[in-house]
């Protein structure tokens, strides 16, 4: 599984990096970015889905697999 934040859509609500700091990090203006290439290890899948479910802008996409 991989996650990706679309920078065109993200408005920096910061829900993703508050919920899953292992997977997302803020830049200097508070926008969220996936850590590294966005790979989600199985034990973090639940957190990844929670981040998606809490992003008010629906800026996070998930690639299954």
């Amino acid at each position: 599984m991989r996650v990706h934040v679309d920078q065109e859509i993200c408005e920096g609500h910061g829900r993703c990096y508050a919920i899953a700091p292992e997977l997302f990090e803020p830049d200097e203006i508070g926008n969220g970015h996936e850590v590294g290439d966005g790979t989600v290890t199985p034990e973090l899948e639940r957190k990844a889905r929670l981040a998606v479910g809490n992003c008010p802008e629906r800026a996070i996409t998930v690639e299954e697999g």
Binding site: E11, G12, H13, G14, Y17, A18, P26, E28, I29, G30, L50, G53, N54, C55, P56, E57, R58
Partner: protein
Amino acid sequence: MGLHEPVEDWASDFDHTDDAWAADPFPIWNELRQTCPVAHSDRYRGVWLPTRHEDISAIAYDTERFTSRSVVVSEFRPPHEMAPAGVAPPISSDPPFHKGARRVLLPAFSPQAVDRLEPSTRAYCEELVDGLRGHDVVDAAEGYAQHIPVRVIAHMLGLPEADADRFRGFVNHVLEGVALPMEERAAGMLELFEYLKAQIDDHVAHPRDDLISYLLDAELDGEKLDFFHVGRTIALLLIAGIDTTWSAVGASLWHLAGHPADRERLVAEPELLPTAMEELLRAYAPVTMARLVREDMDFAGCPMKADDFVLLPFPAANRDPDAFDRADEVLIDREVNRHAAFGLGIHRCAGSHLARMEMRVALEVWLEAFPTFHLADPAAVRWSGGQVRGPRTLPLRMS
């Protein structure tokens, strides 16, 4: 507030400053959502009220047809010459100007910058609770919640903490004074700007490490922000950061005072607080924004006219059953919560990281000091109406 005729028909003659809205707006919104999802009123020279999440988010995202030239509903429409910055950039600015005006603020309110303010915020909340210990009844709105954001923003901006009561007066005047005659509102604004002008002049003469000096030094498109831009942005930070956070902390304490099971659970499981806080923000979102219609057009079948106001009740969006399961219930362990308390789209609250930190620290310190509290007199609780809703009188029995 009572300056306007009381509302009898919410679908055709609503008024968000009506006492019924302040006391309990939820049944009003629920009813309208089913019967008249975009209501209209001739008050304020024409204003619309959408109550469905779908419409509220569509308007928030549609910066073409809806302008932020004014975000506070009143009889008054700011002159077009105020564009592109508007009366208080960036909240009153539209694209493309908005982006830069917002960009200069964001680093000062980033999660990293906010983390650095946590120790001083916590120390201040602790000082406040220490002053409240030993009393049987405490007003949590007036004696606690109200002070925290004033102190934090004064500290950030570099304004004298001793002036706290004065800012609160200004802010009240701007937000709760929408029903006052124009001349009285203008006089209040003038007083605020004169106060800020003196403070900014002092920072020009003696730069220091604070947000006013940072803004005076900040550049937009290679040029320093002009004096008026800085002054108006500072006024915005005072106005946007104080009543809002006060309301969010107060509404949370009100909920916990009235729902002992939730309170006990948070005392027993403090790690649940961040999740619970999001639910309290959803359920009691304090801020309703507004837009002006740019040109005559149809929206959701409604004939909107240029310069009509449109209220954006994010709190009503947060209670829409089409967007949230069990929308009218407060579930402090709700895990999936795409609430819109801090707005949607390009105007997302620039202070949201700060507000969340203040709220979390305020609630942590309170619950640690006072694990048991109840509403002393539910009938004595008074909520502010208008566009920022929260408890202004909140007597709690502390045992």
